[in-house]
Symmetry: C2
Subunit: 115 residues, 2 copies
DNA sequence: GATGTATTAAACCAATTGGTTAAATACAAA
DNA sequence: TTTGTATTTAACCAATTGGTTTAATACATC
């Protein structure tokens, strides 16, 4: 795997981890707080957080015995730009579909005039 | 894993599979053709393609002994919209940074008038 | 210094992943 | 009907993943 983009997508491929990220949209949070919604042991959550941290999707602070987590933007931006190339592709497809529909309409009009 | 979005991100988390998708941006292609750039056995490529197919990132046709692959757009769109929520977040952060810079500038101006 | 809370580490386990080689299948053409 | 080409299946393997439980560590407070 090794590369950053692969690590990002891998980290995003787990619903628990995506839920954690969603929670962090609302602001910084401790591990125990993040664990609340899940029917899962603390070490399991701790591991998920570790994956997010290694993929650089989150950063961590230090406040007494808490290790607050906060969102990081860079890797998500990279993932989004990777997807943008495909967005161009499907938008182009829509354009061609649009052209096609216009062509059909033009034909219909022509036929309309004939009859 | 089970859910569609997880399957999509999981499929995208491998560089070989991303390269295959990139190749398919140029158009439909057979398995052997897709395998060309990789120093990897055919069954390995076949498996990667299977993963992409199960995640619905590609569709396959049938032409004699060839099983041509072509891109599909839906799951990539879903992945992109998932990321869009985070795009809003980092754009908001930029806005706040922008506000902050404006505040600093305003202070500088004020200081400038005083001296 | 003892106690309670937050978090991680260690050891383990079953399932999945990403690769291999060797064999099977499907089709076209000679 | 044999031969060659395209692709998949099967069986295997090592490494990784996502979870567990039990213990260890770090810190604040009493």
């Amino acid at each position: 795997m090794t590369d950053q983009l692969s690590a990002t997508f891998a980290a995003l491929s787990d619903p628990t981890r995506r839920a954690i990220l969603a929670r962090l949209l609302l602001g910084e949070s401790s591990v125990t707080e993040l664990a609340k919604p899940f029917d899962m042991s603390m070490p399991a959550i701790s591991k998920h957080i570790r994956v997010l941290e290694k993929a650089r999707l989150i950063e961590r602070g230090k406040d007494a015995q808490w290790r607050p987590c906060r969102l990081t933007t860079a890797p998500l931006k990279d993932a989004a730009s990777w997807l943008d190339e495909y967005r161009l592709h499907w938008e182009a497809r829509l354009d061609r579909l649009d052209d096609y529909l216009k062509l059909i309409q033009a034909r219909e009009k022509k036929r309309g005039r004939k009859h």
